[in-house]
């Protein structure tokens, strides 16, 4: 991202959510974005993933400049290169877990075998829930289905916004371990937004955001270290 500015609203009610953000998310590593509520974390993620149009600046994923991409190019990008996981799990309530997982491939016109779907769900420990509807699953299980759905297309980058935000600490741990595994064994890139220092500490590096600007970055801190940096920011 180079000099990204994002403003919301018109004249009187203008909010500058991102104010000249420049950063890289190195391939094959896990970056956490931290900051107080309202600091622009989600906005950063949306702009980085091409879900939101930036006001000015440039965003590139690999070689592609997504600030000038057409809708068709962005759709193709979502099919092959990037995946999403959000705090509210965003599964289709009318489809079973297995169908939710198979959906991205089906939309991309790829034939999916039941076996493939089962394998991916087994990867997140839900092999026996393939025929359950989202509402029959716990929050942690729904989030794991969402991760399985994001993984099934083997995206180069996974964007996650507070993926553990709605989970208890035990479910959160399971989800974080899954993400760690994706980075370590599949070499995927993860950009994750969180406000929880303990969660951020799982990442390879942490970017701190305040009032729409990047104010700090660190690598290799434990939860305690991250919490101290955050506290310093909020003062």
């Amino acid at each position: 991202m180079r000099g990204v500015v994002k403003e919301y609203g018109t004249r009187q009610a203008r909010v500058r959510a991102l104010d000249g953000v420049s950063t890289d998310f190195p391939a094959g590593s896990w970056t956490a974005v931290m900051g107080p509520s309202g600091s622009g974390k989600s906005t950063l993620l949306h702009c980085a993933a091409g879900l939101e149009v930036v006001t000015s600046g440039q965003v590139r994923i690999g070689e592609l400049d997504i600030t000038t991409s057409s809708d068709a190019e962005l759709t193709a990008l979502r099919r092959r290169q990037i995946g999403f996981v959000f705090q509210s799990f965003n599964l289709l309530g009318s489809l079973t877990a297995g169908q939710n997982v198979a959906l991205p491939l089906k939309l991309a016109g790829v034939r999916v075998s039941a076996r493939e779907v089962r394998d991916v769900l087994a990867g997140v420990g839900l092999a026996d829930r393939i025929r359950h509807r989202p509402r029959e699953l716990s929050g942690g299980q729904q989030q794991r289905v969402a991760i399985a759905r994001a993984m099934v297309t083997r995206p180069a980058v996974l964007f996650a916004d507070e993926p553990t935000g709605a989970l208890d600490s035990k479910s959160a741990r399971v989800v974080l371990d899954l993400l760690r595994d994706m980075v370590d064994s599949d070499g995927q890139t993860i950009v994750m937004v969180t406000h929880d220092p303990a969660v951020a500490a799982s990442a390879d590096q942490v970017v701190f955001l305040s009032d729409g600007r990047i104010v700090d970055r660190t690598a290799g801190l434990n939860a305690h270290g991250v919490a101290e940096r955050l506290a310093a920011l909020e003062d």
Partner: protein, 644 residues
């Protein structure tokens, strides 16, 4: 992809069942109206009728055909409007699901294809149910026509195989039309919207809504203005059109009114938590509110507009007759007795008028060197010009009634464009004659300016025909005494002119009521189904919202009450707008009557209005309460925590 639709169907069956239902009933209604219309237009008359009876029956069928034309037109427009708005609503309700599809890699084209193929499937289902339903509707509609004596008793509607193509074509075409624009809009949904609870607050007044809304509302206003110059025979159709088109236009613009009514509800129920919640919900769900109100706007607009139009017409006719008749008594009898009325002492003038059906014959080259003949029946009055002029104040706009002898005729202006001196080929009482137009009246509401001389028809043929004689009493003679005398002579029923006019008005009102029943019978039922349907769809879609409300502390009863308050606000919006549409129709008919009769008459149908208002609140309120009760039956936690 269609697997998604099937699963969605299981999940949101009221939404999809509602869509199928509107297609099925709409197809049934159009199919039945069209078959009956075609059957009435091509009906073979029973053999062996004498010429007079045959002409009368043909006239009855012609009347039925023009009535059925209006019925079919309304049914068709209603079907288009209701089906397309229901389908558009089903699409709008699924914005979040669609955004989610975009998020996981669905293209715009895929979304559109999904929605269109879904609509196609629903429409196929709906049409398949609609065809047999249409046969039942046809049965009901034919029986209604016969019972109300608006079509001859022997009538039966015929089945035509081509109707299958029409029914499926209408069902599918109308559904796809409705989804087409909606799917285009839905395809532009941003993937990010899956994350936000955008509800449907996002721009309701789309360009399409503005265009259709302004076009239709403007069209209704234009028609109301044109009404002043329209021929009287088109008045009912025009008025129904104004109400229908105006109601559709205003229902498109109704989102503009929703926030205002929301604020009004907030004001009226100031201080109550539920009132505040209901007001906020109304403002937040403008599209849902507008979609729910739409069929009710059209139904009540049509009912009030049409009833008001018919009442205004019968009042206009009453006014016209009171102005035209310059007599004291009216005697009804057969033509035979009328000759003796004039000889009763004290009678200054007696003008007998016997209805005679005249068959106009039009010949034109058929394109193959031969000649095609078309016959059209029109009601005339056989009378004596001298007596007529002594008992009527009406004078022709051109020509003179004094020339009405032999093969001559008087018509009203606008009748096939005939002027004084024109000739008309016709068959009168089985005899072909060439009639010369000797005078032309201005057009009237009651069509009683079509006259022919009594001597054109033989006495034998007229003898048994029902006849009205308008009697003027000589100055200084007691009206009651003459009246007694005529009655005593056994010459027929005697009424004062005022009595006679009011009897005619009752007969006219009765006829109007029957016309109303035919036009609005099945169409009204259809629109009523659509009203209930839209309420059920909208309310059952709020399951999760209700659950969240209960988790935030509302009891089930409070949720029901909140939904009820909202439903009455929706009904209020619908009634206000339908009142405007009906008002435009009444202004139109008022201008028409003003031109024809010289007095601006518009009757507000208070009884019908009261019935419609009470019925609307009752139906909408009850349907909302029932659906909300069902939607809140599951424990709230199971719904609200399923954040999917």
């Amino acid at each position: 992809m269609l697997r998604l639709s099937f699963n969605t169907f299981a999940e949101r069956w009221p939404l999809f069942t509602g869509a199928i239902l509107t297609v099925a009933t709409g197809v049934a209604l159009v199919q039945s109206s069209l078959l009956i219309l075609v059957s009435a237009a091509t009906q073979d008359l029973p053999p062996g009728l004498d010429p007079g009876a045959e002409a009368q029956m043909r006239d009855a069928y012609e009347g039925a055909v023009s009535l059925l034309g209006i019925t079919l037109g309304i049914a068709y427009v209603l079907a288009i409007f209701i089906v397309s708005s229901t389908f558009a609503f089903t699409v709008a309700q699924r914005r979040r699901d669609l955004a989610l599809l975009r998020l996981v890699g669905g293209s715009r084209g895929q979304l559109r294809r999904l929605l269109l193929s879904e609509a196609l499937l629903l429409a196929l289902f709906g049409s398949a149910i609609g065809v047999p339903l249409g046969i039942l509707a046809e049965e009901a509609q034919s029986r209604l026509l016969v019972v109300l004596e608006l079509i001859p008793p022997g009538f039966s509607a015929q089945w035509h195989d081509w109707i299958l193509a029409v029914s499926f074509g209408v069902g599918i075409g109308v559904a796809l039309t409705g989804v087409f624009a909606a799917s285009r809009r839905a395809a532009t949904v941003r993937p990010l919207d899956a994350l936000r609870d955008v509800g449907d607050a996002a721009r309701v007044m789309t360009a399409g809504r503005w265009i259709v809304g302004l076009l239709f509302t403007g069209g209704a206003v234009a028609m109301a203005i044109v009404s002043a110059h329209a021929p009287p025979e088109g008045a009912i159709a025009l008025s129904a059109n104004i109400a229908l088109v105006g109601a559709i236009g205003l229902s498109m613009l109704s989102p503009l009114l929703v926030p205002l009514v929301g604020r009004a509800v907030g004001l009226v129920l100031r201080g109550t938590t539920l009132g505040g919640l209901a007001a906020a919900n109304l403002r937040d769900a403008v599209r849902r509110t507008a979609s729910t109100a739409a069929p009710l706007i059209v139904l009540s607009g049509l009912l009030i507009g049409l009833t008001g139009t018919l009442l205004s017409i019968s009042n206009g006719i009453e006014e016209e007759q009171a102005r035209d008749i310059a007599g004291d008594l009216v005697v009804t009898s057969t033509a035979e007795e009328t000759a003796r009325i004039a000889s009763i002492p004290g009678v200054a003038a007696a003008s007998a008028q016997t209805p005679v059906t005249v068959t106009l014959i039009e010949r034109y080259p058929d394109g193959e060197g031969g000649e095609a003949v078309e016959r059209e029946d029109t009601g005339f009055l056989a009378m004596d010009p001298a007596a007529y002029q002594q008992t009527h104040t009406r004078t022709p706009a051109a020509g003179s009634l004094d020339d009405l002898h032999g093969e001559t005729v008087v018509v009203e202006r606008g009748f096939n464009g005939h002027e004084v001196g024109d000739t008309i080929e016709a068959s009168v009482a089985g005899r072909e004659v060439t009639l010369r137009v000797v005078a032309v009246f201005d057009s009237s509401l009651s069509y009683d300016g079509f006259l022919l001389p009594r001597d054109l028809v033989s006495d034998e043929q007229l003898a048994q025909a029902p006849t009205q004689t308008i009697v003027r009493i000589a100055a200084g003679t007691d009206v009651d005494a003459v009246s007694m005398e005529i009655r005593a002579a056994g010459l027929g029923e005697v009424y004062t002119v005022a009595e006679s006019i009011s009897r005619a008005k009752s007969a006219q009102d009765d006829l109007n009521w029957r016309i109303n029943a035919v036009i609005m019978g099945l169409s009204g039922l259809y629109a009523l189904i659509a009203v209930i349907n839209s309420v059920v769809i909208a309310t059952s879609e709020r399951k999760t919202e209700f659950a969240v409300a209960r988790l935030s502390g509302l009891s089930r009863a409070q949720v029901l009450r909140m939904a009820f308050i909202e439903s009455w606000a929706v009904a209020t919006i619908a009634l206000l707008l339908s009142g405007l549409a009906a008002g435009a129709a009444l202004l139109g008919i008022r201008a028409a009557i003003d031109r024809l009769v010289g007095v601006p008459i518009a009757v507000v149908p208070w009884t019908m209005t009261a019935v419609v208002v009470a019925g609307s609140f009752l139906v909408v309120g009850a349907a909302t309460l029932c659906t909300a009760a069902v939607a809140t039956r599951p424990r709230p936690t199971t719904l609200a925590t399923a954040r999917e």
